[in-house]
Amino acid sequence: MNPVALQTRGLTKRYKGRAVVNQLELTVHAGEIYGFLGPNGAGKTTTMRMILGLVLPDEGEIEVAGQDAISHRLKALRQVGAVVEAPAFYLDLSARRNLMYLGGLSGACRRQRVEEVLELVDLHEVADEAVGTFSFGMKQRLGIAQALIPDSKLILLDEPTNGLDPHGIKDTRELMRRLCRDLGVTIFLSSHLLSEVEQVCDRVGIINQGQKILEDRVEALLKLEHVLYVEVGEPVRARELLSARGWQSEPAGNRNGATNMLKVQADSATAADVNTHLVQAGVRVHQLLPATHSLEQLFVTLTENLRR
């Protein structure tokens, strides 16, 4: 397995006593594209802001490439690029000057690198125009360009295809794949477009109400013909009970710091048996979901059930 590019442990942020991110544990491996999903208000942007040092966590740890990103923020961010929410630039400056100056804040910024990324996002022809004249889509592309300067090893992208036309969306997806495949860049992608996540991500983490509820490989999630997701009150005991009946299981997420969601090797026809077995043994079953072929279905089911 590749080394860890980004890891959070027990990450928590409270506003007025309410935890918007609660004991969040994430592990992103180097060279992968990690999809970070969750409904509006789930705590995705707050998590990204904490990783980037914009928001100060109340508890927990953040490590970027093995470096403590809270106590050594400057060092940790040296090879990190990001676009958080709508891209904002200095409107009176040209695209090229924005990139030169912003890139320079991360260390030496080569003019050649600026030209490369401008070419990459197809803004080289308008590079000397003031950003104030740019459309939203052009600013979005410039946002991606600035995240690539200097040679970032980890890129955090928050809804990077927002405001892009279909060609722009396709190009951005290809760009992400290329960065990951050819340059070994790790991408942490937050998106509402589940089809996009399905197409480009290697792994996904789903959060709701500030807690991770599921984390798995996309490939595994999409090929789950014989898998049930079961959320229980006592996961350790539930695993023992399931194992005794020959159903293999493993933790698939966490709530309140404990792993409560189990991924059980059993098809949907036996869902009732699994449920009966656990309930009769005194284990509370909060939800039971047959794995589906679409990430969207899984996402909607998981987050809607928790909302109820």
């Binding site: 940790a76 904002a88 912003l102």
Partner: protein, 279 residues
């Protein structure tokens, strides 16, 4: 830090706000000169000290006449707005977020912004001085002695006449002290910008403190409080026109101004370090 300073300078002087402030100074100076020309036409032969008003109407006088309204009222407004907009403006535009996701320290960013405010205000004051001096010289065609009404020093209704050889030095010194006062006021704007996150509200708060302090000074009330008021010290620039400069007095004012400025900057940095950036 060098790159950060360079970036802040570029941002500051590329803003329309900066260009507008320099253009406003042109309009202000033109207005002062037209006013002096009209005064000369109507009352040019009026006796002032040992000569007439026309005799004393020269470039140094133009600079002095522009100083009071310019440094009491006009430039403080610009200083407060520029100070307030340094953080709050970027907060509102979202560019603070773009900048702070880079490996730059929050303290470093505020120090760079503060330094750039100093450069901007020094240039603005220098622009007011040089423009008034050169345009006054071109229009009235004279240099010479400077006549200073003692009323601006709070010393009655007489006049102090500074010979030509020291007049320019005193004017330059006075404008330099005024730039320091404006920098201090701008640091108050910076502090309110960090607290309030909105340029207009922060500028209003800084100007509120400035004018309330002036009003309290003018009313003669709260005599015990007056020595602690910032405007009591920020107006030190008019103390240099007396024949013998009161150096101990200036030093004391300077220390108070330094204390105010350091307190505002320190508080700004302290608050900014603990602030979540949600812009």
């Amino acid at each position: 830090m060098k790159h950060l300073l360079q970036f802040e300078l570029i941002k500051c002087f590329n803003r329309k706000r900066a260009a507008v402030s320099f253009l406003l100074v042109v309009g202000f100076v033109a207005m002062i000169l037209v006013g002096l020309w009209l005064q000369d036409r109507r009352h040019g032969q009026r006796r002032v000290a040992d000569a007439t008003f026309s005799d004393y109407l020269n470039a140094p006088m133009c600079v002095l006449v522009a100083e009071s309204p310019g440094l009491f009222l006009f430039l403080p407004i610009l200083a407060a707005i520029m100070g307030a907009s340094q953080v709050a403006g970027e907060w509102q535009a979202g560019t603070l977020r773009t900048m702070m996701i880079r490996p730059v320290s929050r303290g470093g960013v505020l120090l760079a912004k503060f330094a750039v405010l100093g450069v901007y205000l020094l240039l603005l004051v220098a622009w007011l001085f040089s423009l008034t001096f050169l345009m006054g010289w071109a229009w009235f065609g004279k240099l010479g002695s400077l006549i200073v009404p003692q009323v601006i020093l709070g010393q009655g209704n007489g006049f102090i006449i500074l010979p030509a050889d020291i007049a320019i030095h005193r004017l330059l010194f006075s404008y330099l002290l005024a730039a320091v006062s404006l920098w201090s006021l701008a640091s108050l704007g910076l502090l309110f910008g960090v607290i309030l996150e909105q340029t207009a509200t922060a500028a209003m708060a800084a100007l509120g403190v400035y004018f309330i302090s002036h009003i309290i000074s003018a009313t003669g009330l709260f005599t015990e409080l007056q020595r602690y008021l910032p405007t009591h010290h920020w107006n030190w620039w008019n103390r240099v026109y007396v024949s013998a400069i009161p150096w101990p007095d200036l030093l004391q004012h300077g220390l108070w101004i330094a204390a105010y400025t350091v307190a505002c900057l320190g508080l700004s940095i302290g608050l900014f370090l603990r602030k979540d950036i949600h812009s």
